[in-house]
Symmetry: C2
Subunit: 440 residues, 2 copies
C-alpha cells in the first residue's frame, strides 16, 4: 500500500525525534498502521539543520506553506510552536483537506475552538496527543479510555521543568533561584523560563484536558495561573514535616454551585499527602490523576517532554490517522472527546468560589493569647483547623512561626480570615498561603 | 440517531455495573458516542436477578443464543466468563456479523487466536479493554497510545487479590493463610481462590498484553506461572530490610538469544526496589509499567476489578465500536494492535534461559568458612552478589539465615549454583529462591 505522505513543519528537538523514531521503528510502525508512514517533506528555516537531521533523504524547504499546499501530502505535522505562523499553517492545512498532528499546546489552548471547528467542517482529523504530558497517552485515555465516566476531577503534574525544580528544592533544601540556575545548566529549563515556572505551559495543557474531560470549549483566558517562582524553601520543609509534598498541579474539577455546574480551572503550587503516588513523581517526570465516577482514580505516568517521548505521541497520532482516516467523519472519534454539537457551555469558577484546603504560615509575637486570637478568627469564618505547628522560638527570639492546615473551605473565606489575622498587631508581615488537596 | 442496540450476556457483578453506569451516565456517554447506547436485551440463567437489576426495563431471557441470534442486536457484551459456552456464544455472535465486547481474559488468552481470526474475517470489532486491569485503559495505551515504540518490556501488578494479600502480609507481618482468609471475608478473594493466588488470572492478562505489545499470537500455554501461596512472611520481611517489596508481577520482555528474538512470558512473586512507583501500589489496586524504546517508561494505575471500574472499560469499548463501526474494516485499529498479516511468530523463552536478579535465603550452620564455600560456588558460576545479609544467630542457636541478592544471571546458572549449595553439608534444607527485577 502507498506510504502515508507526511509533511513535517519544524525539525527542532521534537521534529528531529519524530524523524528518528519513524525511521528506526519503521518496520514495527508499519506492522501496526497497515502501511508505511514516511516524512517526505520537511520545512524549517534552518535548512542546514534539516539536512543534517534527515541525512538528505527527504525534500527540504524553508517555506512551510509550500508543504501545506502540496497536494501529495496526507498529514501535516506542525512542530513550529507559538500562536502566530503556526495557526496560519494549521488552518491552511485544514482548508486544503489535510489531517494535522501537532504538539502545540499554546496554539490549541488559545485558538483551539477555531481550529477544531474548521477541522470538523472539513472532515479532517487533528491529533494532539503530544500537546499534553509528552509521551503519556493521556489525551487518548480521556477521549476514548474513560468515555463511560462522568469525569469528576483531574490533577496533574504536567510541567517537567517545575517538577524538577521542586524535587531539587526539597531534596537539597535549596532556594528557588539556585535550583533554577542548575536546571538551566542541565537543560531542564529554558534561558527564559517564564512559560514553565509561572505555570503558563501547565495551564495550556490543563485547558486542553478540561475541554476533553468535561466537553467544554477551550477557555485558557479563564484559567487561574500561579507559578512556583515565589515559593520558599522553608514552606517545602514545613510541608514535609506535616506529611505533605508541594507540587505544581494543574487542577480542573466539576463543581456544583447554587444548583449549577461550573468548572474549576487552576494551576498553582499545591500541598498533597506524601504517601500519594502523585507526590512521589520526581524529577522531570509527569503524571496525571483522573477521577471518574465509575472507574474511580486512574493515574498515568511518564516522560512529559524530550525528543523521543514527545515523538512517541506525535507518531501515535500519525498511526491513528492512518488507521482511521477512512471512517465516516461524522462517526469517528470526536477531536475533543464529545460530539461538536454536544459541547456544554459550563462557566469557569472564579477563584473566590474555589474550594480547597489551605496551608498558612505566619510570623507572630511569641506571647500568650496569640494562638487564641488567630483560632478565634478562623472559627468565626467557619474554618476548621486540620493541623497546627508552632515553631519553638530560638533563644532570645521575640517572634516565631505558626503553620497551620485547614479543612476544605471556600477561597473567599480563607482570604477574609487572612486579612483579619494580618491586621492583628501580634502578626508581622504577610501570611504565606498555599492550597492543599487531599486527592481522595 | 437510532440507539446502538446492545445485548448483554450475564448480569452478575460486571454486567450489573455495566447496566448501572450506562443508565446513570447516558447523557454523558451519548454526548461522546454521538448516539445513545442501550442495553435492550439481557440473557442470564438467573432471571430473577436480571429482573431486579434492570428494573424490568429491558427484554430478559435465559437463552443467551437468542440474544446472539437476534438481528436487532448491534453489539454483544459477553460477561459470562469461562472457556465453554462463552466461546460458542462469541463465535456465533461474530458469525452473525455482530461486534463483541468481552471482559473474558481466560477465553481470549486460550482461544483468542481463533476468535480474532474469525472477527477479522467477518469485519467485526472485538473490544476487550475490560479483560486486562479492569478500568485502566491499558489495552488502548498499548494498541494505540504507544504505536511509535518498539515495546521492550511490560511489568504489571494485574491481579488485585494477590496484591491485597501481599500488602496485608507486609503491613501486618501475617502469614499467607491468615491473610487469605481475611481477604475472603472481605470479598477480595473468592471461595476457591486458585485462579488468583496461583497466578493463572495474571497469566491470562499477561498473555493478552504480550500479544498486543509484540505482535505475537496468544500463547498462554507457554507462560511460566508461579503464584504466591508458598510465599513466606519472613521473605517479605527480609526483602523489606534490603530495600525491596515483593509483588506478584506479570512480566513479558523482548530478548535477544543467539541472535534471535524471543519473548519472556512469566508470572511470579518478584522483589522490586521499594522506591519504585510500582512497589507503592497497595491493596487491590493494579498498575502496569511499560518500557518503550522512544517513550521510555510509562505507568498506568487504577482499579483492576469491581463492578463499576470493569464496567468503565466495557462501556469504553461500546463507545469505541459505536464511534468507529463505519470505518473500513481493513483500515481500522487492528484488534491485536498489529495488522493480522504482520503477526510475528516469536518463540516464548524457556525459564532456564530467562535472565533475572535473584533473592536467595538459606539456612546454614553458624561456623567459619560457610560463607566462603557459598560465595565460591556463586563465583564459579559467574554470579555476582549484589547484597548479603547474615542474620545474627540467637543465643545458643547453632544455625542462622543467609540472605543474598544476585546481579542479573540466567536462571539455569542460578539453579545450578543452588543445587551445589544445597549439597553442602553446612546447608540445611531447600534454598528459597525468588526473582528480582530492578525495573530500570
Amino acid at each position: 500500500m502507498k506510504p502515508i505522505q507526511v509533511g513535517l513543519l519544524g525539525i527542532g528537538t521534537v521534529g528531529g525525534g519524530t524523524f528518528t523514531v519513524l525511521s528506526r521503528n519503521e518496520a514495527e510502525i508499519t506492522r501496526r498502521a497497515g502501511r508505511p508512514i514516511r516524512i517526505v517533506q520537511v520545512a524549517d528555516k534552518n535548512l542546514e539543520l534539516a539536512r543534517r537531521v534527515t541525512g538528505g533523504t527527504v525534500a527540504l524547504t524553508d517555506d512551510a506553506f509550500a508543504v501545506v499546499n502540496d497536494p501529495e501530502i496526507d498529514i501535516v505535522v506542525e512542530l513550529i510552536g507559538g500562536y502566530g505562523i503556526a495557526r496560519e499553517l494549521v488552518l491552511k492545512a485544514i482548508e486544503n483537506g489535510k489531517h494535522v498532528v501537532t504538539a502545540n499546546k499554546a496554539l490549541l489552548a488559545v485558538h483551539g475552538n477555531e481550529i477544531f471547528a474548521a477541522a470538523q467542517k472539513k472532515g479532517v482529523m487533528i491529533g494532539f496527543e503530544a500537546a499534553v504530558a509528552g509521551g503519556i497517552p493521556i489525551i487518548k485515555a480521556l477521549r476514548e479510555g474513560l468515555t463511560a465516566n462522568r469525569i469528576e476531577w483531574i490533577a496533574g503534574i504536567i510541567n517537567g521543568t517545575t517538577n524538577f525544580i521542586l524535587s531539587e528544592m526539597r531534596d537539597k533544601g535549596l532556594p528557588f533561584d539556585t535550583v533554577l540556575k542548575e536546571a538551566q545548566r542541565l537543560g531542564y529549563a529554558e534561558a527564559d523560563p517564564t512559560f514553565d515556572i509561572e505555570g503558563i505551559d501547565a495551564a495550556h495543557k490543563l485547558t486542553i484536558m478540561a475541554a476533553i474531560a468535561f466537553g467544554i470549549p477551550m477557555q485558557f483566558d479563564k484559567a487561574y495561573i500561579e507559578g512556583i517562582s515565589k515559593l520558599q524553601a522553608e514552606d517545602i520543609k514545613y510541608a514535609e514535616q506535616l506529611g505533605y509534598r508541594i507540587k505544581l498541579l494543574g487542577i480542573t474539577k466539576r463543581r456544583q454551585l447554587d444548583g449549577k455546574t461550573a468548572i474549576e480551572l487552576r494551576v498553582h503550587p499545591t500541598l498533597i499527602p506524601a504517601r500519594r503516588l502523585l507526590a512521589n513523581v520526581e524529577g522531570a517526570m509527569n503524571a496525571v490523576l483522573v477521577q471518574g465516577d465509575a472507574v474511580g482514580a486512574t493515574l498515568y505516568y511518564g516522560k512529559g517532554a524530550g525528543a523521543e517521548p514527545t515523538a512517541s505521541a506525535v507518531i501515535a497520532d500519525l498511526v491513528d490517522v492512518t488507521r482511521m482516516a477512512t471512517a465516516d467523519p461524522e462517526n469517528r472519534v470526536p477531536h475533543l472527546a464529545f460530539q461538536p454539537d454536544a459541547v456544554a457551555d459550563l462557566p469557569i469558577l472564579p477563584m473566590a468560589e474555589v474550594e480547597s484546603g489551605y496551608y498558612l504560615r505566619m510570623r507572630v509575637d511569641d506571647k500568650p493569647g496569640v494562638l487564641a486570637d488567630i483560632t478565634r478568627i478562623l472559627a468565626d469564618q467557619g474554618i476548621s483547623i486540620d493541623a497546627l505547628v508552632q515553631r519553638e522560638p530560638a533563644e532570645g527570639e521575640q517572634q516565631t512561626d505558626i503553620i497551620l492546615l485547614t479543612h476544605v473551605v471556600r477561597e473567599k473565606q480563607i482570604d477574609a480570615a487572612i486579612a483579619q489575622i494580618e491586621a492583628l498587631p501580634v502578626v508581622s508581615g504577610k501570611i504565606v498561603r498555599l492550597r492543599l488537596e487531599a486527592l481522595s
